[in-house]
Subunit: 263 residues, 2 copies
């Protein structure tokens, strides 16, 4: 059992929780909670830590055995006090894993059997918004997410938590040059920008063909440059005195309109 927070692995997990750079260097991220750990694809899980108190409950043993067999790893027990230091949550479940990162190519965001349904995010900042877009996006059948370099790190603990497992299943792609990627996507998709100056109501468009949506930063919306790449600016009508919608809400309304039209 690990009883000291000066243990090398423990110190490393604390660094992985805090720093995107460390996660990138080691090509891993942290997942907490039994549900999301059980959903990890085979072989991706490389380290598993359980709190002493979690391990003390015998009903957890079957899950632990299942996870270890599935990924061919061993678990380590951690004193509860030490576990408190490695968790990112206020009420930790007592189980935490180090999981290998994903590496998709742009091509992976297109599927042969269905029209593309892409979300392109420019500088989204809120981890909860990004995680929620992945989760609702999987539900709406998106084929992938493209993110500008300035977008929040998808492996941030809050993003991972709010994906509720969609992180394992929705292909995504960061780019240093959003412009170049948009130009590539434009050869295959109609690109729509959710925009306050949109002339057309979002539901008047036909999304049954290859479709991509541009979604901007929470505070500033889309930059003029990126919005200018859109084939169509669409608007989500807003009644009352509402000036804009939360980015995850706007994205979800659009994604579910695509889903509705394709049903």
């Amino acid at each position: 059992m690990i009883t000291s927070s000066s243990n090398t692995n423990i110190k490393n997990i604390i660094a992985l929780q805090k720093k995107g750079k460390t996660r990138k260097e080691q090509d891993v991220f942290i997942v907490e909670g039994i549900k999301m750990i059980l959903e990890a694809p085979v072989g991706r899980l490389i380290q598993l830590y359980v709190a002493e108190g979690y391990f003390a409950q015998q009903e957890h043993w079957a899950d632990l055995e299942k996870i270890c067999n599935y990924h061919k790893i061993k678990y380590e027990i951690v004193a509860d006090k030490v576990f408190q230091e490695i968790t990112d949550t206020q009420t930790p479940q007592g189980i935490l894993a180090v999981v290998r990162q994903f590496h998709y190519q742009l091509e992976d965001l297109f599927l042969k059997e269905q029209p593309a349904h892409l979300i392109i995010l420019e500088g989204l900042q809120d981890p909860g918004n990004l995680g929620t877009i992945l989760r609702a996006g999987e539900g709406a059948g998106i084929t992938g997410i493209v993110m500008s370099k300035g977008t929040v790190d998808i492996y941030n603990a809050k993003v991972i938590r709010s994906t509720m497992g969609s992180i394992y299943r929705v292909p995504f792609f960061y780019t240093d040059c959003l412009k170049d990627v948009i130009e590539k996507i434009q050869k295959r998709c109609t690109i729509y920008a959710a925009h306050l100056q949109g002339e057309c109501c979002y539901e008047k468009e036909d999304y049954t063909k290859d479709t991509a949506f541009l979604i901007g930063n929470e505070a500033n919306g889309l930059s003029k440059e990126v919005a200018s790449y859109a084939n169509r600016l669409v608007k989500i009508p807003m009644l009352g005195e509402v000036e804009s919608l939360n980015a995850a809400i706007a994205a979800s309304i659009l994604m579910y309109e695509v889903s509705r039209q394709r049903r």
Copy 2:
């Protein structure tokens, strides 16, 4: 200028930020940031506090004068260090107001000139979700929100912030007995429950008449009892391995479908 955090008003604001009970007793809530303070309806704003650093910028004076004239109040300047203690935000804007609470009757959630469009929340816990539902709800034209007693306090600082001003404009109503209120609403509205066991796709229903949606708690969904009051259980189809949607996302998809049908 207030320079001590033992000042009575300062101590009171700290209590108002923390405790729903104190807010209720004094019939007020706290609003931060110039944009939301400027949007407060006439006469509702009863105290105004500005940080020393905020006041030092002359371009803020016109706004301050406008607010004070509009609500017939005076502002108080607070030392920056003291302001740090009364703010709920990590990067405070330096302006904070005490605003009088709203008191709606159930009748206020029905308008003469349009069909009802109500959201009924059972035990929603996340402040960001509630605020986001108010904001997206105003945009979608809802006529009001009903909340069970166990729902998060709408005057919680995080709720207020995420409403982006919709708190001033969307009528809402808490009830100790959700069942009784639902029975009253049922006489005038068709009640739909967003439910994983829903038989019908949400978009197949006709929402052009008086409509109310039941939305459950984030972790547990709707209770069986409350779900049983619904006239119709509808489902939001989910692809992939998604088991549920975030409550604010689910509510927004439904509210915007009503909005789409009524356009």
